[in-house]
Symmetry: C2
Subunit: 121 residues, 2 copies
Amino acid sequence: MTAPASVPAAGGRVLAHPAPEEIRLEGVLHALSDPLRLRIVRELAADGEELSCSDFVVPVTKSTTTHHFRVLREAGVIRQVYRGTAKMNGLRREELDALFPGLLDSLLGAAAHQEERLADG
Amino acid sequence: MTAPASVPAAGGRVLAHPAPEEIRLEGVLHALSDPLRLRIVRELAADGEELSCSDFVVPVTKSTTTHHFRVLREAGVIRQVYRGTAKMNGLRREELDALFPGLLDSLLGAAAHQEERLADG
């Protein structure tokens, strides 16, 4: 028996991710339609590196947080990889930019614009 | 008693719409996260004018169609107005462009890009 070719896991658990051709705009929009998930994506975009789930300070339970990261992963927005005992999260920026040119920056800009608008109000 | 100032209805039913300051990015993204609703918005954008619900040929029941238009209206994406017996639908393009500059065009572009990609595949 041979190991699956695509995912060298170094003995860790491997999480399922959609291939780029499986990612759908509707799924990405659904993933970003939740305020907390949108915030997670904004933080990942601002950081530019992988962050562990525990790097996010969120006002919900751990299982709810896990759910939100999973929705983002299954929509193809983030990649989740176990490194040792930590589950690390990274934005799939290059793949998203190739699939939907300009969209991610436009969404991030709209989210920043809204935040400023609501803070001013 | 005076009539509400904002909505001259000429005797017709008036449907509730969020004011621009009530429109939220998350709600817009949720409204567009459904394939049929995304298609309706693309048709309204391509047409540039108001369309009646019956102008859309959709593979679902009338009550499902009504539901989808309602989600779009309540998110602030479209404006629905009774004209005579017809319910007319128009994209709230100017207001959305003011709230989220560039976002709508970016979303429409991503949807067109995806359609081409899936047709090629």
